[in-house]
């Protein structure tokens, strides 16, 4: 399955081209530069892999949650690319992608969502579509109840909010992974799991989790 993998919901761009069983990747920490970075790198990857867009079968795209603007850059690019060739998109959760970027059996994903909150999810590896805790927006001090497992913490929140998170998990076995963001290898692992279905470019929906972004007039009184 030749595919492009892309996630732009963090300060990193996870970008790869998977062709003939090999992953060509250009993951990079670019902070705000997603728009400048992605297409030129994609062009290079396609050249390296000696692949034309017409030979791509699916575009795997992280659909959040994450930084809103960055997220939309990747999703917008993926929509345009897919629409051009009538290609299917395979939306995968950015949190699942972080989890799949570790080699942990029980990854516990916590991403810094700013404003004192985290995007949180818990997985059993390779059961990506049946998360133990589904992606949600919570404060680090109020983690949902978790079954007893040997958890591996991953994601940016473990360094952003170390105390409240570790405190909330003090009764659990916990190791912290250095993996903080999704990688192209993690995205590919999700895609190859066969657990995710595809949609058309127009059907792509984004997962923001933070839905209250402003007050309505009557709420401001």
């Amino acid at each position: 399955m030749n595919c492009i993998v892309l996630d732009t919901a963090t300060e990193w761009v996870a970008l790869g081209v998977y062709a003939h069983g090999k992953l060509w990747q250009a993951d990079a920490h670019i902070k705000q530069g997603h728009a400048e970075y992605t297409l030129p790198q994609l062009r290079q990857l396609l050249e390296q892999a000696k692949l034309s867009l017409a030979e791509i079968e699916v575009i795997v795209v992280g659909n959040g949650p994450g930084a809103f603007t960055g997220l939309r850059i990747g999703c917008g690019l993926a929509q345009g690319l897919a629409f051009a060739h009538d290609l299917p998109l395979m939306p995968v959760s950015t949190l699942a992608a972080v989890a799949a970027s570790t080699d942990a059996d029980y990854p516990l994903v916590a991403m810094d969502a700013r404003m004192g909150e985290v995007y949180f999810a818990a997985y059993q590896a390779d059961a990506w579509q049946q998360p133990i805790v589904s992606p949600q927006l919570i404060t680090p001090a109020q983690l949902p109840a978790l079954p007893a497992q040997a958890w591996t913490g991953c994601g940016t929140a473990w360094s952003a909010y170390p105390e409240p998170l570790q405190h909330a998990l003090q009764d659990h076995q916990l190791t912290i992974s250095p993996v903080a963001v999704p990688t192209s290898a993690g995205l590919l692992r999700l895609a190859l799991s066969g657990q995710f279905s595809t949609v058309s470019a127009e059907q792509l929906s984004l997962l923001y989790l933070r839905d209250k972004v402003a007050l309505k007039t009557h709420e401001r009184r």
Partner: protein, 347 residues
Amino acid sequence: MLVLGIESSCDETGVALYDTEHGLLSHALHTQMAMHAEYGGVVPELASRDHIRRVLPLTRECLQQAQKTLADLDAIAYTAGPGLGGALLVGSAIANGLAFGLDITVIAVHHLEGHLLSPMLADPRPEFPFVALLVSGGHTQLMAVHGIGQYETLGETLDDAAGEAFDKTAKLLGLPYPGGPALSKLAEQGDPNRFSLPRPMLKSSHLDMSFSGLKTAVLTLVRQQEQHGAIDDTTRADICRAFQDAVVDVLLHKSAAALKQSGLRRLVVAGGVGANRQLREALNQFAAKQHIDVFYPPLSLCTDNGAMIALAGAMRLQYARPAAGFSVFPRWELASLPRLNPPQDAA
């Protein structure tokens, strides 16, 4: 050459197809007005969230209307600024992704150049040079336009834009969002002789304008009237009329002065406030008397739309480049745009 235009700078998603030979083939628009109304103004994050849902369905609609396919496209023009950063990025990302996929070029369009050139979507279309009165929600400028990218600012508002003044005054009068069109509708029933509001900078020799004082004057007038009890519909309409008379008067006088100062004989009006009927009537009357030709965009293309972006892109095909890394420009001076190179003679 067939150009797809994508506009997403504020609260309207617009897509259009413009053919350099046959003109505008189709355009499709989704306005988010109803969504933002509950918030009393545009919420940038919600605007972006909506744009990304709309661009592709609107694109499909445009292609269908024009009976074209993606393979027929030669270039994609998109609004790169000025406007809301996050909203601009949505249209820019989809445009660049699509152009990359189709292996065609992109043109980053200046939103105000789109407005400025939009009268060229009407028939008859203006020839260069002309004076442009650009009156939108964010801008109020008079310019001498000698050609594409040859924009000389003659005067501009020193504070609020005319559209902004309409909207703020409407809000102050308790009119439903978005206020401009609502205020102007009420004004048509108002008595022009009951109240009189100041015309800021009308007599000054330069071409700059100011509209924020007018809003304050309305507030003072409202307070005065409220001393006789709650304001009734008649009084509200009369205040609207006085406000609109003042704005139209200023825009008319400054436009006339700009024509005189520049010696030009053509006036082009663009931007949302250009839809205002009273403004059009005043300008038309003046123009008929002075033998000036006035041009407006089609009424439906005064506010934001994809057609003006496709058109501006088509005019700037010589600046098209392959889809690649891109940036947006939330603030962007119109005067900084490069002029068009004269056509190269075939060797």
